[in-house]
Assembly symmetry: D2
Homo-oligomer: 336 residues x 4
């Protein structure tokens, strides 16, 4: 098989995770998240974000987390505001709509949503003939790998407060955003009503940690989990993994490695004169390559072609906790 | 902690599963079930059931499998027929209703559904003022640990055929049913339009293998999976586990061990004069114990109190692939 | 056509309603319930029930009213408690389940639900593996034509208060219940969190008046109406009709006429020695007749056969505001 | 009250409809659309469109018709393609999303959707990570009062056939479109898999006639109607009205009158030098007026302000079957 820069979930789990699964394997524990490791992981995460009142739940994947959380937070007539590139709008097969909620999409070039866009949406949804916008969905890092600055997050928070909206952050690649900036989980938690810290794309076999900061959104959440098939019998499988990821900041170390690999790629690509769809910030690069280059590289490396034009393609290169320097250099060596 | 007979998912995974996860860990693979192990596991399962046209999908848990499958198979006005003790009726937090479908419940004493009951339901649902019964839901083994005989399954199949109904089998503990009888997966597959083979309760970290035998129910199923948050990014995690479980009939060996432990318990309990709610057949026992006995045993062993009466309790004892003879004997030693 | 005792909606509307529709026809008015007649009707109804803070909405039919109200009042994991004979359980094609909610059914002989049954249901729904019972659904009069006494209603109210449940009353035939007792709309409103006063079965072309007494359930209700297709553009059509029905207690006069016709039938049937499924109280009779009698009467009169046994049938006879004495006597004259 | 050009449902019903309701009022009939008038109206409509195999159902309103039809026609993962101005996208409070389906919106200036836009949408929805586009939703006349030509409809039909899509036409103002062109109901029926002929906005008290031309979409439709609260007990109320509207082409005469009134307005407005948002074709005009003119006219006439800019407004003027020449002239007389 060709080496893959297709995504950040091409391998199994970080060895420390497998090791802990092994070590704890024969210990009996209660199911459904009541095991000691899940408890420890929840407490650890709450102490990291300095929000002891927060509720933490471990789920299996990003689409599942988004659909359970958003449908739990909204009443039937309430809608989500998100960019047209948001994962929930384009890559979740209408999961949010299946739970009954409209996504109001706004255009974006860099993957980000702005307060001005939110205000405009709210302004035109005025009565019972339209849905009521209620939840702002953003991804940090965005679907294009860009990162909201703390100032941008604060502005979104102020906008949501002023308009009575909830702010939800899809953190499938939140660690990569943190690793690329000086932002901390505690800061993210201050701005969001709820967010999730992704495990699947950062070294776990599977798993996302949903943090519900806003107390008003917490009651009965386990009912929502169970009803949507998101309450794992062996909750330990998720708890153990997040315990390992959170201990000693492993989640940050893994994300920084991925970012560093991407940065090496990005710098070399820039030097070679290639352009990017958006400026590279995290572990996803969107770079324009001539078709003949794509063809050549593709015989050795696997990656996603994002946009196909006549003479060039925008390809997406994704690095991960498992990406090796050798493969990065091998990829670069193929380029003109 | 007290030793637990609470359920069959109190430990991690069978060592062979962890070993294979370890061995394959650094190999890159495509996501969403397109990895080689998932492919092999699907092919192996299809060959075991001798239904090359079947479709196999791996999901994370039982409630998830039931809700995705049933909602995919039905049109909005169609309903499920199930016993009042069925898992979907009592222990899935209205997951099926959340997808829009009514469950028509019929009484049961032994956990089983009969053709006569189905016929009666169909007879009273005659026009558009009522839902249209369309799918018969049974569990093999049942929620009370009993097992449908092949004759009973054949009769249900004939009944469904005569009435234009689908037959769906919840196989959370299907291996235990097979292990307790001469029934084979191939036979189950001949009677069901769809069924699942449980992994979570039979030695996997998580995972259920849904088999859609009826070709008419197969198209676009992956869309349903994705929409309900049931398409795992690292599908390999499920594929690898089922590959291990299916190779050399490990799923049967594990279930037979669990059954054997339960049988030892059951025989000793009978000898001691205790009565059962239903005759023990698989790895779940429902035994009536005097309250003082329950109290005594409970200080050392954990289990579920199923029914509480004034002077006695019906307790549920569940054994698993991981239950040891020593613990079985220790439990029995505590009894009068 | 044979004269029909099949239901109470076999004719058009009471003449006073048609007259008012005619008189107001060319007056322009705002849509969606903002017309002056709807406003007047809402105010009149609120003054009749002496609950100025109540919210009143006019909808098109009973199933629609039930589904919009119940789905608006509940969160996704919450369930309804109702009898197994309740309209929502058997004659609404799974409308409540389509909105995502489970109906927990309890047995009944006379169509009524008791506090003891409710307590038992709540007692066994204890955690997130089951739905959370939240709304008690009763019909006044019941689907069998029986009537809850004020004492029974008060006991249900106390039970609901003690358990944190909502009490919702389906009043498709509420006027008949009031007409058959000394109960008033104001009393009903004191016991219910929400109820509806039926128009369709009491002389309107169409229409039900939903009264939301509990302020906590009122916000954003028009959004729910619109989203479910229940907000009529020409809301005047409903408002005018309810204005006519409520003015001078027309709703009561019509219901009393229907009850009186039923009473005449019931008394004569009793005298002739026929038995009833339940004691007749309102405008629906369920009477056991020998098959040869049914056959004979059926050639002249249309009605619903409720239960068919070998030698006898339980037939349902329904009278209405439009039933004439002559037809009642003609029916009786056919009986042995 | 000011005279209203706000919409085409400000009055009651055309006198002929009220008259027929009166004449038939005391005749007993079966409920739920099995009355003789509904039957006649269905047969008449089928003969008008020359599609004897079509299925006709009468519903109460436009949003209800759209949501029942679209949710009945689609599987859970299937989506609708519609313009960003379509009624389902902006004025139905997320009714379609509530039934679980995503609306894929495309931009429009004149309210129309083009085959090229449809092809583009289908091209980017390729696998199970996205919804599957399946139904094309258009309105004839459009939400801006424009009319698809027969050529445009034929092109949409060919596009849908080529791509395996259904074509659904919202005909809230279909009569106005027919009245403004040489198009016939039979032609519309040839292009659509399903469409509805609006009554509410064309002289009925309420009511829309849904025509399901495509036989594959017809089975069990009454179950969908009932489940969504859209099956009227006194179906006669809808049947009688459509019988009157369809006899002697009353629906066309009423729409032509509305169009004629709009045309008079449009011509005078043009002569006075005012511009239109889109060229006027049916009974809705969108005209740009200076703010001082709007202010002046508004004291005497009621209408909807569609777009508000600094110095001018785009106002919507709607005429109906009930609009009088006198009021049209009075409106024009106020203009500079």
């Amino acid at each position: 098989m060709r080496y893959s820069f297709r995504d950040d979930y091409s391998e199994g789990a970080h060895p420390a995770i497998l090791k802990r699964l092994q070590e704890t394997n024969t210990i009996q524990a209660l199911g459904y998240g009541y095991d000691p490791w899940s408890k420890q992981a929840r407490e650890l995460l709450k102490s990291i974000i300095k929000q002891p009142q927060a509720a933490v739940h471990f789920l299996c994947g990003g689409t599942q987390t988004n659909l359970v959380a958003i449908s739990a937070f909204l009443r039937p007539y309430e809608a989500v505001i998100a960019t047209q590139l948001s994962h929930i709008a384009v890559h979740e097969t209408g999961a949010i709509e299946y739970t009954g909620h409209r996504i109001i999409e706004v255009p974006t070039r860099d993957g980000k949503l702005t307060p001005a866009q939110i205000e405009k949406v709210v302004a035109v949804h005025r009565d019972e003939h339209s849905v009521r916008p209620r939840l702002v969905f953003i991804s940090q890092a965005t679907e294009l790998g860009t990162v909201y600055t703390l100032e941008e997050l604060a502005a979104l928070r102020r906008c949501c407060d002023a308009l009575g909206l909830l702010l939800y952050i899809d953190g499938a690649r939140l660690s990569n955003a943190l690793g690329a900036t000086q932002q901390t989980l505690a800061q993210i938690a201050r701005y969001a009503d709820a967010f999730y810290l992704g495990g699947t794309k950062n070294g776990a076999l599977l798993g996302e940690a949903l943090v519900i900061v806003n107390s008003a959104l917490q009651p009965y959440f386990r009912y929502h989990l169970k009803q949507k098939g998101a309450l794992l019998a062996k909750g330990r499988v998720l708890g153990i993994q997040f315990l390992v990821l959170l201990e000693n900041d492993l989640y940050l170390h893994l994300a920084r490695h991925a970012n560093k690999m991407a940065q090496r790629l990005a710098e070399a690509l820039k030097q070679k004169g290639f352009n990017f769809l958006v400026p590279p910030q995290t572990n996803q690069l969107f770079v324009w390559l001539p078709k003949e280059v794509v063809q050549k590289v593709r015989s050795v490396f696997d990656f996603h072609v994002w946009i196909e034009e006549k003479e060039r393609c925008c390809v997406r290169l994704v690095t991960s906790w498992a990406t090796t320097k050798e493969m990065v250099e091998a990829f670069l060596a193929l380029l003109p």
